[in-house]
Symmetry: C2
Subunit: 250 residues, 2 copies
């Protein structure tokens, strides 16, 4: 089986390497506009070759995905299983259905809930979301089996359910991480365990490209509401603290 | 050596138990207004008995400490080493100096940067701040040796330096924890590692009494500025996200 990875940014490069490592019986080919270094076990290929694979993962920025789909429409191998790995699911699933509807391919939306930082010690037991946007057909079962063989924790849900849950988990985490980075907190000798953990969250979320952060917030239909609620919670807590005058020391 | 603990709330109870465990050659006596359960190795005692110990730790709410000092002033054993364990240091240090100035006692301000959650697997290598408010005298050296014998990481700094660093570490952590609790984030099957860590921070900060949270924010001279900066950082990041229109899907 030939598996193609379209896009070799921070995530795509990690993902191509993970496929090569966890599915050694497959041939992994990857295409990227830029000359990113290749992970072990992955062969650099032309766009054509990646589009002729049996399974194709699109690992492009959420905000670029629609344009990429328009570009590749009509050029993918018949019978291929086409997947995205975007951190939001509603729009990418709709885009795949819109642009590939006349292509004779199977569509599955996926979201590996991890990346190079959180999977640095392996992918075992990490969560991966699968959205059966064309139902739980033969292709879907094949994909599910592939990821189960990696010992991932495969979770099946709709794009809407994914985005709602992700807004209040991954969306909150990245927003807090970027906010703390802007505040400029730094390691201190007197850091509590909780603070050191918060620093780590900040560092890991800020290791991801800024574009991923914006896309996560902008292309998830529920994050604006989450941010508004987070802002209200902030003001509520701040108001409670300020409700009593600060002490004065003579 | 007799060590007295004044106050058996969540922290005082943990602290009395930690002393008994790590300084087994001492007699640990504790006084509390309420009938809190006693940790292992700790003897319940009257207020008088605790005030007659060789070393006395005040483990009372920051906002109660001034009234407690007024109450015990003139009643502490001569030559005793008197310490507080408050999570802020500027005010408590000044209060001890004000109310105990005519008592023939030694004063050392301390802040163990951990509690029952973060020290559940022992105190080794955890940070403890000592403020030598009367200089690094004999009593200060004795206290420093005591904590070093527990294998704590003893850090010496002024109350001002402590409060400044704590505002931007412990103060931020507790504020974020309480804000996330108010937002109502919950465990989800698709939680990333970062999100699960954030949930844990929320749970641990919210295990502490609400009074500690308010006192941490209200009695640290630098937390109001920190909260204002955190609010500005939040608005900045939110503004960047909103700067581009959300995508519309036809």
């Amino acid at each position: 089986m030939k598996i193609g990875v379209y896009g070799l940014g921070r995530f795509g490069s990690f993902w191509a390497g993970a496929i090569a490592k966890n599915t050694p019986e497959s041939e992994v080919v990857a295409y990227s506009r830029n000359e990113h270094p290749l992970p072990e076990g992955v062969k650099r290929a032309s766009e054509e070759e990646v589009l002729s694979a049996d399974m194709i993962f699109f690992c492009v920025a959420i905000s670029s995905f629609e344009a990429v789909l328009e570009r590749v429409s009509g050029r993918i191998k018949k019978g291929a299983i086409v997947m995205d790995t975007c951190s939001v699911k509603t729009y990418p699933a709709k885009w795949m259905q819109k642009y590939l509807k006349d292509d004779d391919v199977y569509l599955v939306a996926t979201h590996p809930m991890f990346g190079p930082d959180s999977a640095k010690n392996g992918v075992k037991d990490l969560p991966l979301v699968l959205c059966p946007i064309e139902g739980e057909n033969e292709a879907f079962i094949k994909v599910k089996e592939l990821f189960s063989s990696w010992h991932l924790r495969v979770i099946v849900m709709s794009p809407t359910e994914h985005d709602l849950q992700a807004a209040y988990s991954q969306g909150v985490t990245h927003f807090v991480g970027r906010t703390l980075k802007k505040l400029g907190i730094e390691s201190t000798l007197i850091g509590t365990k909780g603070f050191n953990s918060l620093l780590q969250i900040m560092e890991q979320t800020c290791n991801d490209p800024m574009q991923l952060f914006y896309d996560l917030q902008r292309y998830n239909p529920y994050t604006r509401k989450m941010r508004k609620e987070l802002s209200n919670a902030f003001s509520y807590v701040d108001g409670q603290v300020e409700a009593v005058e600060e002490p004065e020391f003579e």
